[in-house]
């Protein structure tokens, strides 16, 4: 008796449909890459006139001059160094506040608290991350403004300090969640080994966990920095928006009670006021490129640092 071969082909629509779905998913996958490049290209395109054209921007002057007079009729000057200093001052100060708090919270959640409290804290911190930045701006203008004036006796509360505190509150959730992931990734066998040898909790922390998770924790900090540099609305509302370099050469090198203006806040505030294609408009896009580059480098570094742990 002959065995009959079962039918090996499938209906055409199934074959075609499957192929379609596969392509759809593939497009979704690569779309992120396409969008990133498209955005970079768009920003670059808008700025290319002033970067490479006839009447090109003096890049050295752009990066070092503190004179930002883009709206001057007779002699517009585009010196972004005060804006860069503003961004740097707010970022640095906010990280000084956020990093100890964020890493401390990550350590507490991952190593010290009970399972129930852990869930509560994680959800609360995620909620903190979900507050829109304009709401943070509100808090900065109303509550923090008053506090800074009252506590530090500043004539105006919209300062580097105000912006930094608000930014710190905004970056803490990122630092906590990434930092906690990094600590969770430390193999339990390391903890057991150390406990078996009789470590105290603190010894466990600084002899085992911090060395083992240092890359992940560094990545958490860098992502916090990325968040702080790119933040626009809250900083625009909280820092007073005055072109001013808060750094100086004498101790403590930074005046936290100065008002400043940051790079992203400048773009947000001025882009709507410029004529499309004008010099001012194009310079704002150069600032955009600058920001894009900075955050790209910071995030890339964070990514490479994280890969560093997994590669080993």
């Amino acid at each position: 008796m002959w065995l009959t071969m079962p039918l090996l082909h499938r209906p055409k629509w199934k074959v075609v449909g499957e192929g379609l779905v596969e392509w759809l998913i593939r497009i979704c996958g690569v779309s992120a890459v396409i969008f990133v490049f498209a955005i970079f290209f768009f920003v670059f395109w808008e700025a290319k006139g002033i970067l490479f054209g006839e009447d090109r921007l003096d890049l050295w002057k752009f990066l070092t001059s503190e004179e930002w007079y883009p709206a001057s009729e007779s002699n517009p000057r585009y010196g972004a160094s005060a804006l860069i200093a503003g961004t740097a001052s707010v970022t640095v100060l906010s990280m000084l506040i956020a990093v100890p708090f964020g890493l401390g919270a990550a350590l507490f959640i991952s190593e010290f608290c009970g399972p129930r409290l852990k869930e509560v804290l994680k959800i609360t911190i995620e909620l903190l991350a979900a507050i829109p930045s304009v709401v943070w701006g509100f808090i900065g203008i109303t509550i923090m403004n008053q506090l800074v004036m009252r506590i530090f006796g500043a004539p105006i509360g919209l300062t580097v300090l105000n912006g930094a505190i608000i930014l710190a509150l905004m970056s803490v959730p990122i630092i906590v969640s990434i930092g906690e992931d990094a600590l969770k990734a430390v193999p339990d066998s390391y903890r057991e080994a150390a406990i078996g040898l009789g470590v105290t909790r603190w010894q466990m922390l600084y002899r085992v966990l911090l060395p083992a998770a240092k890359n992940g924790l560094l990545a958490a900090v860098l992502l916090g920095v990325g968040r702080a540099i790119g933040e626009t609305m809250a900083v625009l509302m909280c820092t007073g928006h005055a072109v001013n370099n808060p750094f100086n050469t004498t101790f403590p090198f930074l005046h936290p009670l100065d008002s400043v203006r940051t790079l992203p806040a400048t773009i947000a505030a001025e882009l709507g006021e410029t004529a499309q294609g004008s010099q001012h408009y194009q310079v704002l896009f150069v600032i955009g490129l600058l920001l894009f580059t900075i955050t790209f480098v910071v995030n890339m570094t964070a990514d490479l640092v994280v890969k560093g742990i997994k590669g080993k």
């Binding site: 066998s189 057991e192 080994a193 040898l197 009789g198 002899r207 085992v208």
Partner: protein, 299 residues
């Protein structure tokens, strides 16, 4: 451990009474009950390293140990055998209270180690774990250098100012010689311990206990991740350490229990079924359950 003799010598005596002598400034410094100081007083009355009475242990609602009462003699190798889930690892981990890191563990009864009940409220877990070392199933060296792995215990149990470089060097050499790694690793001490072969990693995990001069070494299936040759090497190492240390080894491998242990404890469903000299347990088991397990009828 005296500051002057950090890691310089290991016990070389079979007599439990002679093991713990000198004063211990370190534990006095920590301001806790001195676990090791109590021992010489009590150990005159016992030849047992571990004595448990009606030890019961629950993980939540699940009872993992039931009325375990055993006397484990000092200075020999005792094997713990039994099918999976019989509680042998749980019992082992009780002996230096490592299993308390999971929050839902309840323990009843007593465990006396060298005469001291380790569940007394004045016992310091840190000192307990210093004197009762544990080797885990999978080699788990810390992701630091070989050298730092060996001196890790000294570093955490001594004040920074008490540690001299030369003492540390000596402790590393002595510990690595003891586990027969010195010849292979003496030029690679700065390398990361996690890059070693599994066999070397497991030996290193034993070596890092030695500078602390533990009284007991607990081993939780120390060879289950190793190949045949590595297993033989680790077994030889254990036989070399026996006499100076009390070793309790959990194993799935009955042939291994036969090869290395002097006494054997057979456990089933959280209870001790039989405890006897290894030859007697394997050749003339008194309990039919033991006999059935040894003959491979279940498990």
């Amino acid at each position: 451990m005296g500051s002057s003799s950090v890691g310089l010598e290991f016990h070389s005596s079979n007599d439990p009474g002679a093991i713990r002598g000198g004063s211990d400034p370190q534990s006095a410094f920590r301001g806790v009950a001195v676990f090791t100081k109590v021992v010489p007083l009590m150990s005159g009355t016992t030849q047992y390293a571990i004595t448990t009475e009606d030890l019961g242990l629950w993980y939540g609602d699940f009872q993992a140990l039931k009325d375990v009462s055993v006397n484990i003699r000092h200075g020999i190798i005792t094997g713990l055998i039994g099918p999976s889930g019989c509680g042998k690892t749980t019992f082992l981990r009780c002996c230096n209270r490592v299993n308390e890191r999971y929050g839902n563990v309840t323990t009843t009864g007593t465990i006396h180690i060298l005469g001291k009940n380790i569940y007394d409220p004045d016992v310091s877990l840190i000192e307990l774990r210093k004197s009762v070392g544990i080797v885990f199933q999978r080699p788990n060296p810390l992701p630091i250098s070989i050298y730092e792995n060996v001196v890790f215990g000294l570093r955490i149990h001594s004040r920074w100012s008490d540690l001299k470089r030369s003492d540390l060097d000596m402790a590393v050499e002595q510990a690595l010689r003891e586990v027969r790694l010195w010849a292979d690793l003496k030029d690679r001490l700065k390398e990361k311990a996690t890059t070693l072969q599994l066999e070397q990693q497991q030996k290193l995990c034993i070596a890092r206990l030695l500078p602390l001069k533990p009284d007991l070494i607990l081993m939780d299936e120390p060879c289950s991740a190793l190949d045949v040759e590595a297993t033989t090497a680790v077994e030889e190492l254990m036989l070399g350490l026996a006499g100076r240390f009390t070793i309790v080894i959990v194993t799935h491998n009955m042939a291994q229990a036969r090869r290395v242990s002097d006494e054997c404890i057979f456990m089933l469903l959280g209870e001790v079924v039989e405890h006897d000299r290894t030859e007697d347990l394997f050749l003339n088991p008194k309990n039919t359950k033991t006999a059935d397990y040894i003959e491979g009828r279940y498990g």
